[in-house]
């Protein structure tokens, strides 16, 4: 799900960079230095989670988990996922430089949106509702990511329209997988440590248990 350098038009790249900068600014505003350790260790965990491969028949896909990142990190998902994308681009060669803004928007904006919309449901007392909200968050985030990628491709030229449609279709099975994995993860967190969904939420400082 990375767009590479050279494919998108200049206005799209600039637009992506501007939106990403805004998202980063908003995300960083909520991250006091006292919350940085929690955000950093969680961000590292999402980086590791993205290395997990799930088999689909003879092939496999790696997880993205941006929906779960939105549920856990809220606005902080923006900088956290940006850091992950930056590290992947620089050290793995996935993605690129000029597309970093667009890629960040495509992954992080859906994360924050589903996080804001569904966090109340996952942190509520009802375990089944939480699991359902996790399912919705995981799959919706992927669908929104695929739509964003398709949109920026299409905006960059009509020749990409077929590729844009393909991106959306190819991500439907991924959305199902991510939804189910996210639902399971939310179920576990809901039982083992529901505070996690609030750890980076409010202005309250982290209290050691």
């Amino acid at each position: 799900m990375h767009i590479v350098d050279g494919a998108l038009s200049a206005p799209v790249l600039i637009g992506g960079a501007v939106v990403a900068t805004g998202g980063l600014a908003l995300g960083l505003r909520s991250l006091t230095l006292e919350k940085i350790p929690a955000a950093g260790v969680l961000s590292a965990t999402f980086f590791v989670a993205a290395l997990v491969h799930v088999p689909i028949g003879p092939s496999s896909v790696h997880l993205i988990m941006n929906g779960l990142a939105g549920l856990v990190l809220g606005w902080a998902a923006f900088p956290a996922l940006f850091v992950g994308l930056l590290l992947q681009a620089v050290f793995f060669g996935f993605g690129g430089v000029t597309v970093l803004g667009v890629n960040t928007v495509a992954i992080a904006l859906p994360a924050v949106m589903v996080g804001l919309a569904l966090r109340p449901a996952v942190s509520g007392p009802d375990a089944r509702l939480a699991a359902l909200a996790g399912l919705a968050a995981g799959s919706l985030a992927i669908v929104l990511t695929a739509l964003t990628v398709a949109l920026v491709l299409w905006l960059s030229g009509d020749a990409f329209l077929a590729a844009a449609k393909l991106v959306v279709i190819a991500h439907l099975p991924v959305a199902v997988i991510e939804g189910l994995v996210c639902a399971a993860a939310v179920t576990l967190i809901h039982r083992a440590k529901p505070e996690l969904f609030a750890a980076l939420a409010g202005p309250a400082t982290l209290r050691p248990a």
């Binding site: 179920t187 576990l188 809901h190 039982r191 083992a192 440590k193």
Partner: protein
């Protein structure tokens, strides 16, 4: 009857490290309860992982249930029949509830959910945790987690048990319970344990891992005693 597990001339080195195993040999026959002792970092956990194929030795042979095992596929059967209880229960337990953690192995073996839940109830009873099904694994005490780890492995109905420091982090009462459970089990087992009291009660034989090799323990060192 023939041997259950056999390791011969095992050599193992982690990348960029000095060798951990340098010609370790061991055998486990039916009914054996073998203890392995040795200083921290001697390679005891490494040895157990080699026996179930989680690590591949650079030299040496692993024979399990009479068949020599090399490739990952060879070890699938071994892992079904050899239950491995990890040193740190937090490395082993990852499910929200005790029932799901214990059912994980049976489900991997192809049991239906209903069968798996029956198995769960049965083995929790064996380890003295009847009624713990719905408890949140992450919130259990250290001792309870260790008993759940054992239940997870018992649920797969193994022929052999490998137990890595099963009484580590247990208070006396839980240690006594663990001893009683292990003594009640018919399986052959290899137990890594630093605790001579425990070894004296539970095992039939002790080997000491030092300098990469296994040998009968030196009786002059106080800490290596307890061979029962």
């Amino acid at each position: 009857m023939s041997l259950l597990l056999e390791g011969t001339g095992l050599h193992f080195t982690y990348p960029h490290r000095p060798p951990v195993l340098a010609g370790a040999d061991l055998t486990l026959g039916p009914g054996d309860r073998l203890a392995i002792t040795g200083p921290n970092g001697a390679g005891k956990s490494t040895l157990l992982q080699i026996l179930v194929g989680l690590l591949r030795p650079q030299a040496g042979r692993v024979v399990a249930f009479g068949i020599e095992r090399h490739a990952e596929a060879d070890f699938h059967e071994v892992r079904r029949r050899v239950g491995y209880v990890f040193q740190d229960p937090d490395d082993q337990l990852f499910c929200p509830t005790v029932a799901e953690d214990v059912a994980f192995g049976p489900l991997n073996l192809g049991q239906s959910r209903a069968q798996a839940l029956e198995t769960v109830a049965r083995v929790l009873d064996v380890v003295g945790l009847a009624g713990f099904e719905g408890r949140v694994t992450h919130k259990l005490s250290g001792g309870e987690k260790r008993l759940v780890s054992l239940a997870c492995v018992m649920a797969m109905d193994p022929d052999v048990l490998l137990l890595d420091e099963p009484t580590n982090a247990l208070d006396e009462e839980t240690t006594a319970r663990m001893e009683a459970v292990l003594l009640s089990l018919p399986q052959a087992m290899i137990v890594v344990s630093h605790d001579p009291h425990f070894r004296r009660k539970v095992v039939t034989r002790t080997l000491r891992l030092q300098g990469g090799r296994l040998a009968a323990p030196d009786p002059t060192c106080r800490h290596a005693r307890g061979t029962g």
